[in-house]
Every structure is written in C-alpha cells, then in structure tokens.
Amino acid sequence: MAEEVLVFGAWGSPFSRRVEMALKLKGIEYKYIEEDLTNKSPSLLKYNPVHKKIPVLVHNGMPVAESLVILEYIDETWKDHPILPKDPYERANARFWAKFIDEKCLSAIFKACWGEEYEHEKAEIEHEKAVKEVSELLQLLENELKEKRYFGGETVGLLDIAANTIGYWLGVFEEASGVELLTREKFPKLCNWANEFVCVTAIKENLPPRDKLIAYLRNRFGAGNASK
C-alpha cells in the first residue's frame, strides 16, 4: 500500500515544526497542510476532535495528535535515524526534559517577554522576577547539556527537536520583544548548542522565516517588555 503521511500545521508553530523536523531527519515524504488557526478546516476538526489543534500527523488515514506523542510515534514507526536512545534510563531522561521544556519554559519565556500588564512601580519588579525565572530554567538545561554536542549526543534526538523552542524561537522572541534571556556569558553551552542545532539540514529547512515571525509576534503581542 502506498504510504500517505499528512502533517497539519501552522507556519510559525514550533510544535508542528517539530513533527516536520523529525520526518525530515528520517527522510519520510509527507504532505504539509497549512492551517488557518482562526478558521480551522473541517479536516483538522475531524482528525483532532478532542483538542482541535495542530499539529496532527495523519498516517494512512490514522490521526495522531500532541507533538511529543507524534514524535514517539514517528520514532516507533520509521526506525531509521532513531531520535530516542536505546537505554531506558536515557529515554526517560529525554522525555523528562522535553516535558520540562513544554510545561515550564515556554510560558515563563512568554511572561518575561510580553508578560502581564502591571502598574509602573510593580512592572519593573515583576519583569525582573520573570527574567530570573527563565534564567533558572535555562540554567537547568545548560547543566543537562554538559559537554554534549546535542542533547541527543552526537546526533540530534527527540530532546533537541523538543527544544526547538529554545534553539530558535527563543531568539526570535528576544528580538521581537527586546528582552535578553539566552546570553552567551551565562549560557555558553546552550548558545553553542542553539547555533549547531539550527545548522542541521533537517532543522534549518524547517524554521519559519525570522523577519516574518518577528513581525507576526510584534503585531500579535505588542512591543514587548524590554526596559524602556
């Protein structure tokens, strides 16, 4: 049977880009469908009735939702270029940090860049707190990277792909909002990793254009929390 792989995504979303990165790494052909999230297609609603969100991977008519669940499905279905290690403890570790990034980092980064509106006197303090929180989270990732080239070791793995929000989107958020978070002096390893990460072909080909993303973010969320 001819294999059919569809990916429903949004150009700016790190989550749907993760799916494309994994497929690209494994050399899997797929058809990409761009969703207008303000006007979701009947297909998306059919394939992901529970969350009505992207990304959705549809493999021979069978839908899989939730980006980290999709990454595991991709790794189990197409065995070339594995993105998870073989050792169960290392697999658990990769999953732990991927979950950490999704549950802790993104919202903290967003808060530091575009946070809530506060009265002037409080704004500075709240902003500093938000920046400090991101710093602490990034430090944990810096420590986790150790001396490895990628989180996955010598090659890009599931955690690197899940960390695409840190490897590329964070830099874009920083530029769009004027808030500095991932500095070279504090996070040399993470910065090196980010540079290497975006150079990997399968990753590079799946990054949304920087200027377009910055314009979109500024338009959607405003000028950002950089001290004026």
Binding site: E72, Y73, A92, F96
Partner: protein, 218 residues
Amino acid sequence: MAEDSVKLLGYWVSPYSLKVKWALKLKGIQYQYVEEDLKNKSPMLLQYNPVYKKIPVLVHDDKPLAESLIILEYIDEVWKQNPLLPIDPYERAKARFWAKFADDKCVPALVAAFSKKGEEQERAVKEARENLKILESGLEGKRFFGGETIGFVDIAAGWIGCWAQMTGEIIGIKLIDAETMPLLDSWFQDFLEIPLIKECMPPQDELLEHCKELHTKF
C-alpha cells in the same frame, strides 16, 4: 531482583505515587517504599528530584526518575512481563494521548471543582464532566483502555474514578454520572474491583477524612 535496587518515594494520599505502585505490583517487582512528609521533604527527595521536588520518584540502581507517566514508561521498558503499553505504534500513541488528556484536562478540572466556590466551581464542574465524557470516548466501548485486561491508560487514569466520587461527595455535586457516562462509570468500577488495584489503595475512610479536612482549608 533485589528489593533494595528499586525504591519508590511516595505519599500515601497521592494518586501519582499510587499509579507507580500499581505498575510495580502488576509486574511483580519488589521495591522499598519510602513515605515522604510533604511538609518536610527529605534531603533524599530533594536530591533525587531537584527540578520539581515532588513525589513520586522511582530510584532504580541509584538512578532517580521523576514524573509518574515517564516512570510508568520506564518500568514498562525495563520489566517486560505484563506489558502496559500495546505493541502497535498507533495504539501506543493513542494510549499516550489519553493518559496525557486525563492528566492535563480531567485532573485540573477536578481539582478546581474541589477547591473553588460559587461560579468558578460551577464552571469547573461543567468542565470536569465534559472532559470525563471525552475520556469515555477513548475507551472505544472496551471494558478497559487496555482491552480485556488493564494497561497504561487504566493505570494512569483509573484512580480518577475514586477521587471524582469522593470530590462529588464532599462538594455535594455529582461528577460522574452513570446515566450520562455509563461506560466510564463501569470502567471505574471494574478497575477498582481488580484485586491488585484494590490492595494498593489507601484505606478509603482515612482517604475521605484527609480530603474532607483538606477541603475545609479552601
């Protein structure tokens, strides 16, 4: 395998450490259980889970693991008897999806129904019921999520039935309706009747007392 090579740090009331107990029991794994006082966390817990400082933590050959669903997957990969996850990748993806849905969508709504008042509580109750109904669809008419026997999602989410019932009793609003969610209701009942599941549960009356007391603090 020697008992002291597997240690579980847990809390008697926590459904999260309960899930891990169930998985270990299902696979017949000997382990040492360490009860944590969450108001006075042990240096061992803080050392083993520095990121979240929470239970459960599974320690296997001195290597710590945190986050209950991740622990379940680890247990399943190391000890192959009585598998939790199915073999087929698509079925595995569905199992992971529903376990995540239960944790991300059903649990917070239940917690809010328990802890909030007035309109906020009404909204939380509505959301809890809606999400439980959606969870029911994941059963696909089967007896258990795992089919004829319990699997990953049953272990991950089966506790919700007992806690939802207790919450309903305490707040005076029914959350699981046998009429509107017949399959979910029978699933919860069947699950809690399984001997190994029942054996690991904290004593019901003590659990209820604890939750009632917790509720007065809100």
